[in-house]
Symmetry: C2
Subunit: 159 residues, 2 copies
């Protein structure tokens, strides 16, 4: 990692493996990926950093949407038909191409993490892993703006 | 954003303002920052991407721990006395220096977001904003490994 020009540079710490070989195959509804199994292959140089991770049932993956090449500030999200500000969406097409998924950690073998609930394209570069901790990551009294109506249907389907 | 050497380069989209002028002043217990007010100053070039964000009560900030200069794979986290694998902790000292905070969005004025619950140093470079959506971001049946005992105390204090 280094500062270059006005940018901040990262080196991937691993790669995410999923059954989805391209964006078209990748499900756009969270309810469809709940049981989708995948793997996180952490590069050997970083394996020591995985110590103690087995104790956590869920982890947060931060990754790079490597297939996104344009970065409009208004997007039509997959659950909608209207343009929205990109920071009010989870679109993979966004400034800095940063992605975030909470996945279930089912097992670890050396530097490979077996995961469930993955919704990214196979080969996605991984930038960080954090333990998912409700006390840090969950909030109450939530409003979700334009997504309210869209997700009502999605939640009905997934229950 | 560009690929350079083996790295992935980002440009900050804004800066986080908090009352904490350095790392020593920055609280290490989540329960202490619940009501701490701060601001997100999004650069004017990105303002259009904030459209529709007012509908969301909480947002996820992804940022760069710009003060962290070393990246050991084992760290002693603030709630612990033992070394842990860095990916099993939320330590700011980590490969790629990526930080994540869920904060309350209390108001928006043009390209400034007023927030509550911020736990980072003033001047932290912002890389992305995502809406916080329980359906995407919350999970059930959670185990939190080594943090279980440490957080029990913390939660008692915050209630």
């Amino acid at each position: 990692m280094s500062m270059e020009r006005d940018g901040i540079c990262f080196s991937p710490i691993g790669v995410i493996r999923s059954p989805f070989k391209n964006r078209e195959e990748t499900p756009i509804q969270v309810s469809m990926v709940k049981d989708v199994a995948g793997k996180v292959e952490v590069f050997a140089d970083y394996q020591q950093g995985l110590q103690d991770i087995e104790g956590f049932s869920h982890i947060i993956l931060l990754y790079y949407f490597h297939l996104s090449t344009s970065h409009p500030l208004l997007v039509i999200p997959f659950l909608d038909h209207e343009e929205r500000g990109v920071f009010a969406t989870r679109s993979p097409i966004r400034p800095n191409n940063l992605g975030l998924s909470v996945v279930q950690l089912t097992a670890r073998e050396n530097s490979t993490l077996h995961i469930k609930g993955i919704d990214v394209v196979d080969g996605t570069p991984l930038l960080d892993i954090k333990p998912y901790v409700p006390f840090f990551d969950e909030r109450e009294d939530i409003r979700i703006g334009w997504l309210t109506e869209r997700l009502r249907k999605e939640e009905e389907q997934s229950n």
